[in-house]
Structure formats: structure tokens, C-alpha cells
Amino acid sequence: MDAFLDGFSVVTQPGNLLYCLIGVLIGMLIGVLPGLGPAATMAILLPIVVTVDPVAAVIMLAGIYYGAQYGGTITSVLLRLPGEASSVVTVFDGFALAKQGKAGTALGIAAVGSFVGATVSIVALSLTAPIVAGWALDFGPAEYAALALLGVLLIATIGSGHPVKALIAASIGLLLATVGRDSFNNSQRFTFDSLQLADGLDFVVVAMGLFGVGEILYNLEERHGKVHVPAAVANIWPSRKELKQATPAIGRGSLIGFFLGVLPGGGAVMASLAAYATEKRVSKTPERFGRGAIEGVAAPETANNAAATSSFIPLLTLGIPANASMGMLFAALLVLGITPGPQLLEERPDLFWGVVNSMYIGNLLLLVLSLPLVGIFVRILRVRPAILAPITALITILGVYTINNSVFDIFVMIAFGILGYLMKKVGFEPGPMVLAFVLGALLENNVRRALLIFEGDPTGFVTRPISGTILALFLVAAVFPVVQAVRRRRAATTVPDETTQREDVLR
């Protein structure tokens, strides 16, 4: 407990506070610009930060990471550009709200949700890190496979489109995930003998194409139609009613995010997806989702920030980096002469608690910073489409190039942009496709890995307690809506025509 309090005295030293501020500011900035991610930014800054005090350096790098999570929301809501897989879900309701002139509300609730989610996660981290870390180790390939399967099912329930169309889009997403060299026997799949495709498609490239470029093309067509600019964007503060609406979503999102975020690889995506699906399921009015439901923004944004925080747990307690950004933090710690792992807490309590507690302060800084900034950001929407579209196009092209310094990726993005435009024209949501694409590799590789470990015996999936439980959940989730539909059909003979209603709101 003393060490915990000492941690606060470490953070509140003026120098460390300033580094924390610089970190979250840089993080927010790169989060807003698609492409350059937190890992690359940390890599660029690494040689500079190692010259300063170790604790300050790590505080700053951590700030970049969770600051970027905040920033990413802004482009998702305003420009339909999800910077990473975990904010894809935010796009559905966030962008819908923005179109209704409620961008400020969406961003405001996202900021509040992010803050709460991160804070809950930090508290949980402080109290239970070692226990939860052990739990993450119980997740083997079989468990990941079951979780990814559940995720694919959840995708179908997401967004506003028809579930069958969502499933079709998801299937194409799964197919896209197979592009690249097979990671078990190295054979080429859909690479057309191109080395550029040998490692598969990059998520950010696909997402920015389908969402960003697709949206730009779609808007160009609509240019002569009604005015795109929403009337009022002034209300930054969510109303009391909206806050009340979002509160349970934020609570559930925090918990889901914390637990799933501990899982390395795919944890944050699953968290945002599961949080959204949960809200839609428990909601009394699920039809609002995808058309500007405030919970649809609050839940995934809370969850992905909670997940970002809990992804520190494997690094700090086991010495395992859960993602590329954690990998850079691992490297930074090594450079500073500190090896992350189980003994970090004993050997360097000042650093451990200093960093953990800096996240309380950092998130508070982000909340204070982002709320006033929301007012400035939403003004982007007032820019005429004729000016905004080329600027957005430029940002996406530049952003995609900086990920991998690859011109090829720019063309891939444009191709997916055209696909995204066509999908939108015929009423398909790109969201399920992108999410299935992310989960596809996770699903396939882990099923194959598990089968190798089980020596080809598939009963292993069911007999292992955790994967068995997840699969049971999967069955319930798959069967429940069917049963419900049958019941409803029996109860009422006339079903209101929902599709026409949907078209109205989409316009």
C-alpha cells in the first residue's frame, strides 16, 4: 500500500507530470492522424527518451499509447476512419450520430467512457494484476479459437443492416483473411506470386479503404443532393438523459474490456465487439443500434480503453508484450536496464507504481484536454464536402503509406475504397467484413494450432473447461435468436416492415 502511494508521489513530481502531458498529447495527435501508430511513434522517440530519467521515459511512452486510443475515436466518429481494429465498432453509431449533428455528443460520451473504462481498468490492474495474468496463460490455442468463433457470430448481430447481408460480408472478410502465405506450411494463398501480398493484407489498409475512401466516393456522388452539413454541432456535453442512457453501457464495457484486454493478440478487438453486442442484446430497443445509439459509442469506446490499460498486465507481470506498442515499451524498459517480468514489482516498485499511477493522471489529463477540443474537432464537419473530401483522401493516402512505407498499400486501399463504395450502394455494411477479416486469421491459426496440440482430436475443444464454456455460450447465442424469432412469429401474425424504416434513417 505504501508503495502504491509512493507511486503517486513519483508521478506528481513536476518533471514526470510534464512528460505525462507530452506523452498523452503526442498520443492524441498521432491517434487523430491515421497510419502512423503508437508503436512506430515510440520507436522514433526511443533514442531520445532513453537520455532522460527512466521513470519519466516510461510514463511518457505509456502516455503515447493510451493517448492514441483517445485520438482514434475522433476520426472514427467524424470521418469514418477507424485507425485500429478496436475502434471499427465505434464507427457504426458514432458516424451515424455525427450525421445527425450529434458529433459532439458522441465524442463527449466517448471521452467520458474512455476515462471511466481506463480508470476502472487501472484500479483492477492495481488490485489483481498477478491473478489476472495467470488467467491469461490458461488461454491456449483452443480457447482463442472458441473466442474468435464467438466473435464471428457476434459480428452478424452488429450494425444496422440485414443479418444475412452482414453474414455474407463477414464471409468475404474471412476469405480475405486467408490471403498471404499460409503460416503453417508456407504455401501461397491468393498471392498471385506477389511478394507484396505474401504476408497478407494489412488491417489498417483494408479498413481505411472500405470506410474512409468508400465514404468519400459515396459522398461525391451525393454532392448535388441535400446539404451534408449538420445543423447544430455545438452541444459537446452529453445531456443528462444521454449520460443516464450510457451509464450502464460504460459499466459493462469497463468489465468486458478489462478481462478481454488481458489476452494478448486480438483482445482489444474482441472487447469492443463483445461490449457492443452485449449492449445491443440487453437493449430494449435494439433497432436503434447502427443508427446513432449513444450506447453503441459508449460501450466499445469504454471497452477498448479498458482493454488498452489491461494489456499492460502481461507486460508488467509476465514480461510478455501483448501487442506491438507493448513490444516497444518492453524494448524501452530494456534500454533503461529494466527487464519487465514477475520481479519488476519487487525490484522496482517506484517504476511499477509510478507508471501505473501515471495512467490515472494521464487519463484525467486526456479527459480535461479532449472535452474542450471536441468543440474544435467537430467543426471539421462544417467544412464543405468539396474541400473536406480531398483533404481526407490526402490524409488516408499519406497515413497508409507511413504504416509500411509501401506504395503498393496505397493501391490496395483504393481498391478496397471502390469495394466499400459498391457495398454501400447495394446496402452492405463494411463493418462486419473488416471485423471478420481481423478475426479470421485468429480463428484459422488457432484452430490449426489446437488440432496440432490435440494430435488431430477435435474433442479437445469441448473437454477443456474454458473453451468448452465459450463454445456453449456460442451455441446459446446462435440458437437464442432463432427461438425468439419463432416465438415472435407465433405471437404476432403481422410484422411491421422494418426495411423501409431503415432506409429512411440511413439517408
Binding site: L18, L45, L137, S325
Partner: protein, 332 residues
């Protein structure tokens, strides 16, 4: 306090600078007319994502070269195909030393065993300036398992699963050779890199794994993992108590090493300048501490010796793979 404020200002301003320059977009004006090298910022491609050991080593060298030569050496990540895409960038560049790369031995010595012939990157297409360091593999198991040596695995009485850092990597080759030449019943389980393989091993999801020393050493030292073998020619400095595979009666020597390359036909004086600056970097305390922290063994040998090592390793691996009938992938 004064020092802290100063360095703070430095961080802030350099951060802004670095971020604005990070796109790495620069005008390639082609060869410079014989002036002093380097006359402008140099691009250093690395065939891996930020955060891995390849990336960190490149960045460490880039920092040293920037200090020694006064121009910025900026690292550009161009990951994919185990470094083949970054290699292609260097291969296609003007041979003036403005595009260079620290490359991995595995791309030239091991990847050819795992990919189709037309995808093979050939060392003859590059000039090799000099060696950097060696990165050793270690065979580890969860400490809960009773095994302490390779011999113990032979008597395990079950099929041993082994996690690898991916198909066609040195980690896979080291493990596969060990199990095949030791006649141990085994199954390879490829993961996407070292961290997921380590996670699976710590959770005892796989029986053993071959990892890079730097990835595993922390958990070996704290007793969560048992190191069964290293694959270096002799015991390595960082794990002095762990016997080599050769000591345990198996002819398995597999290791990763890295070296500086330039496009074929780069003028000798340019290469000399780079090599001298690299050697000066090797001498710095910072660099030596970096090697120590990442469990890297210096391999600072001249370029022609690197080429010899690559040629002989490539042949040796090919012979072993054939002898034990190991399938690293779709090599045909």
C-alpha cells in the same frame, strides 16, 4: 533539476522534429557527384515491424552512425516476407550508400529452404559491409515439466509439441533438427512470433519451444522456464550453465546473425566510411550495454567473412534438412 529541464526541452523539440520527419518521404535525386559521404540523410530499411530485435538493432546502429557521420540515418520499417521486401528496396536503390540495410542471415541461409526458388533473395545481389551481432536460439520448457536436458525428452514417452516463432525461421529449424536428429517423436506448432510462443509455453500449452535468447532469458532466470539447450558453437555468455546441442551429442548449430548491406556496386570508400563509423559505434558504452540487455553476442567481422559464413551455413542447413528429411514449408 536544471539538467532535467534541459533534456525535457530537448525531448519536446526533437519529438516534434522526429515526428514531422518520420514519414521518411525524401527526394531521391540519385547519385551524388563524388562528394563526401554522407551528403544527405540516409535511409536504413529494416524488414520487420517496430519493437522486434531486428528493428531495435537497426535503430541502435542508426543512432551510432548518425552521431559518427553527422547526417541523419533514419530507420524505415518495411516488414514482410522475412525481410525480402526490405531487401528488394536496397537491391533496387542507387549504389551510392544513401539506401542501406542491416539484414538477417536467416533470409539468405534458411528462408531458401522454405520458399519457392524464384522468391529466394541472393546475397550476391548486395555488397556486405560487415557483421553486427549474433542472436542465439534456446530450447526451453515450462519449469513444471520434469525435463532438464534433451535426453530427458527422449524418455518422455509422449509426442513432444514445440512452439516456434513461425514457419521457415531459425527457431523452427533449430527445434526440428534437434528432434529429428535425436529421434524424438514431436510436432511443430508455429506461432506468429516470439511473444505468443512464449505465452503458450508459460501457460504450458505446448511442451517446449525454441525462442530467441533475449525473449526467454527473463523467465529462465526467474525459474519459470527451464533451458534445455542452446544451439551456438559454444556456450553463450548469457546462459553459461546451459549446454549446447553439440555437447549433448546432436549436430545442431543454428543461429541468427545480422550484418550491414548496401546495394551491389557501392563505391569502396562509401563502404569504408560506413564500416569505420560502425566500428566506432561498436566501441561505445551505449552500444555494448544494448547488446548485453538484448542477449546479443558481437559478431563484428569484415564483410567477406560474413559472406563466407552465409554460404557455408546455407549449404550446411540444406544438407541437414535433406539428411533428416525435414519439411520447413512448401520449398518445391
Amino acid at each position: 533539476m536544471r539538467k532535467q529541464t534541459l533534456s525535457l526541452a530537448a525531448v519536446a523539440s526533437t519529438a516534434a522534429l522526429a515526428l514531422s520527419a518520420c514519414g521518411g518521404v525524401s527526394t531521391t535525386t540519385g547519385g551524388d557527384d563524388g562528394g563526401e559521404y554522407p551528403s544527405r540523410s540516409v535511409e536504413m530499411y529494416v524488414g520487420a515491424d517496430p519493437g522486434g530485435s531486428s528493428d531495435l538493432i537497426s535503430r541502435q546502429i542508426a543512432t551510432g552512425l548518425t552521431e559518427e557521420l553527422g547526417e541523419t540515418f533514419s530507420v524505415l520499417n518495411r516488414s514482410g516476407s522475412n525481410g525480402a521486401l526490405a531487401a528488394a528496396e536496397v537491391q533496387q536503390a542507387e549504389p551510392d550508400g544513401n539506401v542501406i540495410s542491416v539484414q538477417n542471415a536467416s533470409l539468405f541461409a534458411i528462408t531458401p529452404l522454405a520458399v519457392a526458388e524464384d522468391e529466394v533473395t541472393n546475397i550476391d545481389d548486395f555488397d556486405v559491409v560487415g557483421g553486427v551481432s549474433r542472436d542465439d536460439y534456446v530450447l526451453v520448457t515450462n519449469a513444471e515439466n520434469p525435463w532438464k536436458s534433451i535426453d530427458d525428452l527422449k524418455g518422455a514417452g509422449k509426442k513432444i509439441t514445440y512452439g516456434t516463432t513461425g514457419v521457415g525461421t531459425g527457431a523452427q529449424l533449430a527445434c526440428a533438427l534437434t528432434y529429428e536428429s535425436g529421434a524424438i517423436d514431436s510436432e511443430a506448432v508455429p506461432f506468429d512470433g516470439g511473444a505468443p510462443a512464449l505465452t503458450a509455453l508459460l501457460g504450458n500449452q505446448v511442451d517446449t519451444a525454441c525462442l530467441q535468447t533475449g525473449e526467454a532469458i527473463e523467465n529462465i532466470e526467474n525459474g519459470k522456464l527451464t533451458a534445455l539447450s542452446v544451439f551456438a558453437p559454444e556456450r553463450i555468455e548469457f546462459l553459461p550453465d546451459v549446454p549446447t546441442a553439440t555437447e549433448q551429442g546432436l549436430d545442431v548449430e543454428v543461429y541468427q546473425y545480422r550484418f550491414m548491406t548496401t546495394p551491389k556496386g557501392t563505391p569502396q570508400d562509401v563502404k569504408d566510411t560506413i564500416w569505420e563509423a560502425m566500428q566506432a559505434t561498436f566501441e561505445t558504452e551505449d552500444y555494448q550495454a544494448f547488446n548485453e540487455q538484448n542477449s546479443l553476442t558481437p559478431m563484428e567481422i569484415p564483410g567477406d567473412e560474413v559472406v563466407d559464413a552465409l554460404e557455408s551455413d546455407k549449404q550446411r542447413y540444406a544438407d541437414l534438412v535433406e539428411e533428416y528429411d525435414i519439411d520447413l514449408g512448401d520449398a518445391s
